[in-house]
């Protein structure tokens, strides 16, 4: 089942075109990583899905229902974690979740049961002080709890990890990994390692256009530009090797830094032996020879560059 679908969405602020012909869809029980630089249009897209902004043209569907601007009914399917979630500082986490349950019309017993479960999932079960003294990470965790309270079909997280320190980031990613078992997740980020950790499918957005879409594995393989890293005994030999391999037809690029040579080529497994035979022929002593895994970062830089 398709949980979220965007069809030819356009949005501009004044003369600035922020979103240009954006179309993509997210299937049930998947984790969709929405990747882009700052200002690429990620937050704008999320706000349009929530009906907080009106698209200039195009259609957005959540669980098959069309999103309308302003008061949208589709929000009852959605749990939303803003990039910097803000709460009523004079409440404690339990009071806040009870309030959230009441305004979504959840029966009191269900709210209480889920509050207990969610607070222990995000590690705030013993925090009874008021929210005003919370750290960024604690607010983010409470944000996930409130977003999951009414068991939404779709959880939208806007840059859930970018404002956090490494420990806070790991905590949030762990919580999202747990949350994926019960809902579909769309999250935006510019941190690629986060995407590699939890996303199944990704969409890369740049200057308001979707540049790439598909499963993480497929995208990594599709844009296959392999890199071989060779560690040599001295910077001189590294320089020599870097220049020699440039003449080979299958090498796209080669560079060296100190005693390490990086060779970019079309297929490392097939042409790797030719590099090796070159090393033997020229009698160059090798300390380490390594084929680097294709990373999303390389793909991202290639696409967005």
């Amino acid at each position: 089942m398709t949980i979220l679908q965007l069809k030819n969405v356009y949005k501009s602020f004044g003369k600035l075109e922020v979103i240009k012909d954006l179309s993509f869809s997210v299937e049930e029980h998947s984790v969709f990583g929405f990747i882009g630089k700052n200002g690429a249009g990620k937050t704008t897209t999320m706000k349009m899905i929530l009906g907080f902004l009106r698209p200039d043209s195009g259609e957005i569907y959540v669980c098959g229902e069309r999103v309308s601007y302003g008061n949208t009914k589709t929000n009852r399917h959605i749990g939303y974690l803003p990039d910097v979630p803000e709460f009523y500082g004079y409440m404690n986490p339990k009071e806040y979740l009870k309030f959230c349950g009441d305004i979504t019309g959840l029966p009191r017993e269900i709210t209480l049961a889920r509050t207990k479960e969610l607070l222990s999932m995000v590690g705030l079960e013993n925090t009874n002080r008021r929210i005003r003294g919370f750290s960024r990470g604690m607010k983010q965790r409470l944000g996930i709890a409130q977003a999951l309270l009414n068991e939404p079909k779709l959880l939208i997280c806007d840059e859930p990890t970018s404002a956090l320190d490494p420990i806070g980031r790991k905590e949030i990613l762990d919580i999202l990994s747990v949350a994926r078992t019960r809902t579909t997740i769309v999250f935006s980020t510019h941190i690629l390692s986060d995407v590699e950790r939890i996303a199944d499918t990704i969409g890369v957005i740049d200057q308001g256009k979707l540049m790439l879409e598909g499963s993480v594995q497929k995208i990594k393989n599709m844009r296959r530009k392999d890199t071989i890293q060779i560690l040599l005994s001295s910077p001189e030999t590294a320089k020599e090797l870097a220049e020699k391999v440039k003449e080979l037809p299958f090498v796209i690029e080669s560079e060296f830094e100190m005693d390490t040579v990086l060779i970019k080529l079309t297929n490392a497994e097939e042409y790797g032996k030719e590099i090796m035979s070159l090393l033997v022929r020229e009698n160059i002593p090798v300390l380490r020879y390594e084929i680097l895994e294709p990373s999303l970062e390389n793909v991202f830089l290639e696409v967005v560059g």
Partner: protein, 254 residues
């Protein structure tokens, strides 16, 4: 309905825990108490002053003077306190972004406006009744209140003016931006209404009438039937302000 009640309860909790309720009730308590006291002791202080042999005769204060003090306090300091206590009810949430979570859960925007307005009106009503009762008690303690007419009606007029003022705060906060934009716009509109009140032909189509002629009802110069048009106009303006707030808030970009 359940959602509306839940949000209204949250508003009361907010007023309580941010100390705004404490302030409102303390000030209104002091108004109720000080008004008769000031009416009583001002002539005594004045007559006790030695103005270089000048003799000023000041008539003995009566209950009318106590009510005059009460309405003066309410329509001056009282309005300022109302603006300070309720001025940020919407602006604070918009500037801090606390409504984002709430609206993303599908709570209707009209529910937010109506719940906030309900909480404000209830607080104003309770505070006014509280202040009025204290004022009444102390006035009866100090003075003879037999020649007072239309007291309840006069206070009702003041109440309706307050209800209008609160609707104006809501509309201004939806229209203006920033923490104090709504407050400033409300003050500007109030200033405009005060200017209009200077034209005798327009005085009856102006809500200010309900906050400036209170003593004329008490002394019997005006009768309740004189206030028919201003009451009607004010009720229409209140409904218009709230409807406009809902329509505009529905379209507001968050």
């Amino acid at each position: 309905m359940k959602r509306y009640v839940a949000f209204t309860k949250k508003e009361f909790l907010e007023q309580l825990r941010t100390y705004r309720m404490l302030i409102l009730f303390s000030v209104f308590f002091i108004f109720g108490l000080m008004s008769p006291l000031l009416a009583k002791i001002l002539p005594e202080i004045l007559s006790g002053m030695d103005l270089q042999g000048m003799i000023i005769t000041i008539p003995e204060a009566t209950a009318v003077d106590a009510y005059a003090q009460f309405f003066k306090n309410m329509t001056q300091m009282g309005i300022i306190v109302i603006l300070l206590v309720f001025g940020g009810v919407i602006s604070n949430e918009l500037t801090r972004g606390t409504l984002v979570n709430v609206l993303a859960k599908g709570l209707g925007r009209h529910t937010v406006i109506l719940a906030k307005y309900t909480a404000m009106v209830v607080m104003w009503t309770v505070a006014l009744v509280f202040s009025g009762l204290i004022n009444q008690g102390y006035t009866m303690y100090l003075f003879d209140t037999s020649d007072i007419s239309n007291l309840i009606f006069s206070i009702l007029c003041l109440w309706l003016f307050g209800v209008y003022l609160l609707s104006l705060i809501i509309l201004s906060s939806v229209l203006a931006v920033g923490s104090f934009g709504g407050l400033i716009l409300t003050v500007v509109v109030l200033g405009g209404l005060l200017l209009l009140d200077l034209f005798p032909k327009l005085e009856k189509v102006n809500p200010i009438y309900l906050s400036s002629r209170n003593m004329d009802f008490i002394t019997g110069v005006l009768t309740p039937s004189d206030a028919l048009l201003p009451v009607l106009i004010t009720v229409i303006l209140i409904l218009a302000n709230i409807s406009a707030s809902i329509v505009l808030f529905n379209r507001k970009r968050l």
